[in-house]
Amino acid sequence: MSFWTRELRATYAFVERNFNLVKRYWGWELVWITYSIVNSLAITFIGAGMEKISGQSVDTQFLILYLLVGTLIWSYLSVVFDSISEMITWERWEGTIEYTFMAPVSRSTHMIGTTLFAVAYGIFRTLITLGVVTFFFQINLEKANLAGAMLLLLIGSVSFIGFGIVAAVLPLLFSERGSQMTHVIEALLLLISGIYYPISVLPDWLQTVSMLSPATYVLDAMREAILHGKSTVELLPYAWPLLVMGVITIPFGLLVFGIVERFAKRTGRLKRSG
């Protein structure tokens, strides 16, 4: 059997397993999807209410679309980020981690499998949210360059995957606090990436930090494509930083993960009991 057949089958093992988990934990999934839909609606209604809040005339349509792009992209990126960063937490909780780590599967294959599912599942959930939200708001996408937006979103996923892998290390290092720490990383990304506001409103030093978040570029590109109808060629300047970040963070994440995995095996942190 060739190396590639083996790794491909193992990749599919993770995709199928995660699919089965979503299926079996459908109750939880329903809760999360409902939560994310309600959340998106609440934020988008801020746009709808802005004229009343401020007592001045604003371009409500524009504002609604602006916030909607933010909330949908954030919901997508956080599903991708969560699925990857919770890879370890989840298996530790189920107690299967030793079995997965004992299998003859390279860590990159493990990550690729997890990531493929994460991206597919993120798209699925975001489309559902979008579907529901369109019932509530009049959304005009005539000007939007949706193909270009999709392309940039996929490129953006690559760099988010790298961040996810780095974050997945934390639960391996800290059995109990690890998963809370990944949520802190996520919250910071939400703050600095200009999800609901332009980053220019942030203090200077935070603006500098926001340059390091891939979500900043994804959001900018999305808004250019959807709100201003920029062509795909015009979106390319946003793609480069994302690609560079992906090319750096994914190998870096795998490297760190390898080091931490060895550390966990030296200090006995993989096991749960027995």
Binding site: R9, E16, G95, F101, M102, R272
Partner: protein
């Protein structure tokens, strides 16, 4: 029987010694600094202390010892789940650290706690395991039905959390057999099973050895089981091997004290001495 240098699962076996452990040591950072007896000078707890042994191909090798004597730690080291602090371990001549991927394809392990995705069914859990060992879906499903059928498990599509502990343990055993390991690490595989299930599993272990060319490392607290299954037995206490022989040989060694010794007598004799020492120590501390 395969010979040295032959190909199995696409791996060249470099030796007919299935498992070669030399001077293996493993300690953990102590979480209870006040309990003196578990500590050496660095505040570390020695779980496995300079352990050396060899298991030949086709043998069933038992490791017996009191709770906390280091059996599971030793097995985790062999299973590449822990990296030993000292010594080295070879599986069919492949070093477990240098040739980690090769070793992983040759081994599998069953632990006391049947660890599964609780909401997934037996079929879904085993399918995941089979794919990790690069089996295709069709072959895997067929093999899973076959093995679980033999072990008397008929509920393939119910979440595993609905199964009794003993049944989960059987599914765990099926998971290990599924990948046809040539070195099988069984950490108390029959703990928690009723007498009939226990016997089924024991027969399965023998069959793995006799018909599927597997070598087995087994820990158990059931002395009769060890006597029945094992070709050789090591007794481990406080992380050190204190005796190693055939069950018969071990029993012979205490015949001068006990006329009709069982393996349990051997266990009591050999690990009992340690108990006295520990109690003395405890007295000293208090």
């Amino acid at each position: 029987m395969q010979v040295v240098g032959s190909d199995l699962k696409g791996v060249t076996l470099m030796s007919n010694v299935a498992l070669n452990a030399q001077n293996v040591g493993k300690s953990f950072a102590s979480e209870e600094p006040f309990i003196k007896r578990w500590r050496n000078r660095n505040g570390k707890r020695l779980a496995v202390n300079d352990v050396s042994f060899q298991v030949n191909r086709g043998e069933i090798y038992g490791v017996l010892g009191p709770n906390g004597s280091g059996k599971s730690t030793l097995i985790r080291c062999i299973a590449t789940l822990l990296i030993p602090d000292a010594g080295y371990i070879e599986i069919f001549g492949h070093d477990i650290e240098r040739d980690e991927m090769i070793v992983k394809r040759l081994i599998n392990r069953v632990s006391v706690d049947a660890a599964f995705f609780k909401k997934l069914s037996a079929m879904e859990n085993l399918l995941y395991a089979a794919r990790l060992y690069s089996m295709d879906g069709l072959t895997a499903r067929r093999k899973i039905r076959e093995i679980l059928g033999r072990l008397g498990i008929k509920e393939l599509n119910q979440p595993l959390e609905h199964m009794s502990r003993g049944m989960q343990q059987k599914v765990a055993i099926a998971r290990a057999f599924l990948s046809s390991p040539i070195l099988l690490l069984l950490d108390e595989p029959t703990t928690g099973l009723d007498p009939r299930s226990k016997r089924e599993v024991q027969e399965f272990v023998l069959e793995m050895r006799d018909q599927h060319d597997a070598t087995v490392l087994l820990t158990t607290h059931d002395m009769d089981e060890a006597d029945k299954l094992c070709d050789r037995v090591a007794i481990i206490d406080n992380g050190k091997i204190i005796a190693e022989d055939t069950p018969q040989g071990l029993k012979e060694s205490i015949r001068h004290r006990i006329p009709q010794p069982t393996l349990e007598d051997v266990f009591m004799e050999l690990t009992g001495k340690q108990l006295v020492v520990e109690q003395d120590l405890a007295k000293e501390v208090s």
